[in-house]
Amino acid sequence: MTNRAPKKRHAKGVDTSRYGYFFIAPFFLIYLVFQAYPLLNTIYLAFQKYMITGTNKVVGPTFVGLANFKNVLVKGSTLQAFENTAVMWLINFIPQILLALLLAKWFTDTRLKIRGQGAFKVMIYMPNIITAASISVLFYSLFAYPQGPINSLLAQLGVIDKALYADSGTAALTAIYFLEKGWHTRLIIAFINFWMWYGHTMIVLIAGMLGISPSLFEAAEVDGASPNQIFTKITLPLLKPILLYTLITSLIGGMQMYDIPQMMQMQGSPAKTMTMTVTMYIMELVYTGTKDYGRGAAVSVLLFLVTAVLSIILFYIMRDKDATRERKALKKARKEARA
């Protein structure tokens, strides 16, 4: 009896392992049908002429090679859309990461002992959870012309002329038509993104900083390092993986930017050429007028490629530097050992 027990348990262990397949099967089944196949289908469509015309006539799919890509790159607004997306992402991300780092440094500084951190975090993170569409329409209304709240505020503050402003006939002379101007709209969109996300980034960075072993800071302090030296020589290098994570997730998210710029679009506004993002362009191709799935798919494939390449480049830049530094340190150590 006692001899058989472990053998039996072992047999049972081998027996249950096949359940693993049953447990992960739903995920893979649904993934293949609803995500992998659509991705392959998108790639396939990118090489086809396939559209539904305004009169509901289906054209294609017929193979056309690279014609769709050529069309969207040369004739279409793909490059402009990529430029718009990149510009708006950059003017949101750079201040976002800097402010988040600064706040995280303050909140984790044991010397400063900032109180009320919980409340600050709750308030600063709050916009992130609210529907981006609602926030955008809210800002769209705040920046309305000529008598939206921002223009009213500017008049109350005396930035734009109040006397002229009160007379609606001449309001056009002074009130600012924000959403008709390309750069104004770009900045508003970037600001909303920044405003919605710096709290999130800050919380992630704080968690990362709190994860660094306190003994490292203590050792540096004992050695007489200044707070700034500790931050640049210890905190930042050790935070690198989390900074990379933040950068990549923000980049991938930023490349898909849709809700905010779409909602900021005023019908027929000349600002559109400067604020149309890649996903907005895809939507325009497949949703309005002639539904051109071939060209929409081509832009999607380009977006996929650019996102993938950028993430891989970022990943390698960050990783290589680490590796070379390690190699250098190793070399130095060897030299010292020899001396």
Partner: protein
Amino acid sequence: MSRNYSYSRSLAMERGVIYIVCIVLCLMSIMPFAVMFVNATRDNYAIQQGMSLIPGDRLLVNLKTLNERQNFNVLQGMWNSLFIATWTTVLALYFSTLTAYGLVVYRFRGRQLAFTFIMVVLMIPTQVSMVGFFTFMFKLNLVNTYIPLIVPAIASPSLVFFMRQYMIAGLPLEILEAARIDGCSELRTFNTIAMPMMKPALATQAIFTFVASWNKLFEPTMLINSQNKYTMPMLVSLLKSDRFRTDYGTVYLALSLTVLPLFVVYFALSKYIIAGVALGGVKE
């Protein structure tokens, strides 16, 4: 002594600056919403006269005007979004935990490969395959139904990843072994023993999954076209049309109604939400 004094004085100054910056940032977070809620209670004329933080007395009038609007049914939109977000959350959480459980508990051939696959596809944004997704759904006759918005949630790579991390740290395999010896079937062991033990992680992830689904605009815009099936964010996009632009009070009121449920949820659960955000970043 004097050096010590000046040190603590500069420290107090630094602290003062930090508190001022934080208060300004808090105001920056709340101001747009404050203006929105206040304007929801004012009439069009008052709104155009200038910005104010004193509530007006037109809330009920605005509510009545909004209620009389054609094709703008806030309750219907909320119900639609609630339906989609609830099912999405339930399916995503159950099947992600199931998948993670399969990967953690059983040592089968291809386990590592399956996990690597999930890690790779984690990074692929859904928007890039939307065109192929849409034409496929069109063929299956599923456009203008909620199925394409709900069922794909069964395969949520990031959630599987998170649940796996949590399980490795917090699921004692001995208990499962004990249940097995007691003759509990594998699926029942998962449902009655593993799932309840995952409750803290499930609660946090439920909030994030629900909110993310509730807030989605791109996918439903592409897939839903009859207005009685519109989700909340889709309804919001209607507020931009000229027909609403004649009466700003109702626009702000409608926006307030879309934001209010999230405000309530957020301030009730903010502690868990903030902790969840921190956890998500570090785990990666």
